[in-house]
Amino acid sequence: MKICLIAEGSYPYISGGVSTWIHRLVQEMPEHEFEILSLMPDPESYSKYKYDLPPMITNVTTNYMNTYTDLKHKRFIIEPRISKQKKESLNDFIFFNDTIDWTVFTETVSNRKNIGDTLNFLQSKLFWELIRRKYLEEYSTSEFNAFFWTIRSMLLPVIHMMQYPIPEADIYHCVSTGYAGLIGVMAKARYNKPLILTEHGIYAREREEDILKSRWLMTAYKKLWTEFFYFISTGVYSTADEIVTLFHRNHEIQLELGAPPDRCTIIPNGIDPNNYKIQPIVDDRMNVGSILRVVPIKDVLTLIRAFKLVNDEEPSSRLLLIGPTDEDEDYYEQCLNLVSILNLDLVVEFTGRINIHEKLPEIDVLTLTSISEGMPLVILEGLASGIPFVATNVGSCRELLEGTTDEYGTAGLIVPPVSPNKIAGGILELLRKPILREHFAHNGRRRVEALYSNEKLTASYKALYNKYR
């Protein structure tokens, strides 16, 4: 069977949770053929694969969203001449109506014969009338120019992206809602093939957080963007044949956002616990570790501040930051600065990209201080290695460490995000209580072995794919 995995801003160009998940999943299924449809911003910044593609992946198609700049404005705009039904669907899309007929809409937009290219459509009178009406109905007291450009720049890459061809496959599997989900919806409509959605983090929520934080967007139009992302996410929920998420917390949110319960399942991440049977090396230092990419979302700065507090109490402690530092050079620079300002140069080590097995045996406590997470593999790996965790209360961390949905007991401490004091408190508690550490380690390993094995993950997806054979 040929499965088309639709990924947005991840595999195979950007490493991270979703990419690793894809990379592992396809390797477990030699019986299937995979095609990757990768949605990326532009070819200049992302041209190199971060992964060696396994043979199950027969092709990678990359559609760039921002290459609309290669299009040329035409001197004469061709007004779309389309049926009433198609106009209706465009109207529903602009107005974010949940009653939209996605099949008609995606067909209308994806075919240049209907509306021309994205520039032609966004310059057309039809589009002008649509957004004029939307403005008068919903935003009539706001600045019109800003509204106009906001909605234009919002749709410019979307329509461009929808006009790329989509590879044919037997199953479409998008690994997020958002743009990838929208393309999935379009593929399902075009080829009449099943659509599976696996959502690691809740896309619309994550975008909402980005938007609220963004400084350049006017407040009035933050609403527009947020509504847009919720709208397309809901579209994917209502269209997909299977809606999978990784853990309970996200499952609940999906239901809240309108995902139909009968199509929802939870398939957690998995690892092979046998790979993590390690022999701890005992030394007289206290080693705190964190396996992460040095990027802002992991909130390394807070971790360093927290560790300062730990080190003040326990001078023999040190911090190992295990993972690539080259993904956000500016941020890495900031981290290094902070380390030297806090006089931690001798006790904080950035290892760079290494095999984590080299360092795992030395570590007493692992920590994860992200401000946002899905289901972090590093927690599974840490627990399988018999190392207790201090993690922030994001994503599935609480489920994994406290076992809110099973009987294996506590395997680590949950602390609030962006809180150096609390994080330091948690780390110190574990460092000072070897017995508690041992207890947690035992619980953690049992949980991972029972619930979060790679085998289970593979079996679940095999079953899911076979359902549509």
Partner: protein, 506 residues
Amino acid sequence: MAGIGFTLKKLFKEESFSQRTKAYLYSALVAAGPWIAAVLTVNALVILSQWIIETNIQRDLFMGTIVYSFVFSQILTAPWQLVITRYISDKLYLKTYEYIKPSSIGLTKIVGLSNFIAAFLFYMNKELPLPYKLMSIMLFVILSMIWIIMVYLSAVKDYGLISKAYILGGMVTLGLGILFANYPLPFEQFQAGSNLLFSYLSGMTLTLTILAYTFFGNFKFGNNLQFDFLRILDKFPSLFFVGLFYTLGLWIDDILMWFSFVGISIYNTYLYAPLYDNAIFLAYLTIIPTMVLFIVSIEIEFYDTYKKYYGLVNGHGTYRQILISNKEMRRSLYRQIAYTFEIQALLSATLILMAPQLFFIFGGPIIVRSIFQVCAIGALFNIFIFVIMLVMLYFEARVHAVSITICFFITNLLFTLYFIPLGLEYYGYGFMFSSITTFIYASLISLRFLRRIDYVTFGRQPLFNENRQYFFTWLSDRLNARMRKQVHIQKKVRRWDHEANHNDAS
């Protein structure tokens, strides 16, 4: 987590509509002003010469030289005028003043060379004495340069100095005319005509010198990107064609008339039709009031509403506010045009009706009078073609402006060709019907355009700045690169010199 980062480009951009609008306006003003001034000088000189020169034929030769120099230097430079106006106003807006002076040199090089070649080819095989030919070619090139520098000076807006340049030039012309009439320079052939031409050439050279002096006094600094302005042809090729077709349209009926039976040939060099040329020149004089009135009323009333509209569009206006100011702006524009039209129509009608008396008083031929009457109706509509075209340019509707000028050129060509065989009593009808037809066309498309102005202002804006780089960008880069190389070499030579001197000294 997955998700394309929020790296959306800010597409918000601000543009100075107001700066540009004024620029178009002033360039129109300065295009007409000096033209009239120059024509007045020529006529004064001719009247003066009537008392002095006995042989009519030499005066006709001189007039032929003047007419051809004017007409063809206009046709050959007009296409550049809007192009360079746009370039200057963009550079002024961006405050990159250092581009302005070099572009004037670059453009002068291009126009000077091409017009010199054109004049050279024209006079090469003509049976005229060499000094006369040389002076004619020089006059042609100097007039071309004046047209160009006037565009640049419209940016400076020192009208006092500009008028002084013309008055001084005119006075020198007339002074020399009188002087040489009494003590002629010893040209071997065509003494009288050559002396007239020499006087006029001297006057114009002085005018050009003063203008150039004023300009370079205002723009002292510059980079060496003399041909950078050519890039604008890739971006707005339409501006070039607006100027080209409008000027061609203005002259095509004259040129066709030269070949009709009223055309006269002078020394196998010039073919022209004094009857028609004079009539249409007088007809154009009748529309001066519109020019002045419209320019003044645009300044005072329309301009404010225009600024307000674009202020709201580019700024914080809600759509309702934009709609209201849009209506105000359009109403003001229509009112201005209607008002100007009423006055102009009244004036034209008066002049047409009084033409018999006026011509009787000033002793003009009856045939010129009847052509004048027809052409004055044409001119009335023609000036409003010009006004509408200008308005279209204000609204960045360049394609509309081009289509208006093409319409004018083609209808004038066809109607004139149609009416010439019908005989003398139909002379001028071609121009008149062409002007009326184009006026109707221009009114219809501009009304349609203005009704859709909101959509055009917003909906038709490009989604991003497209880098239109085609032939002219390439050409501009090549020419500029050559310039830089030269400068580089000069610098090197200077350094060697310096080093050599230094070594000598030590």
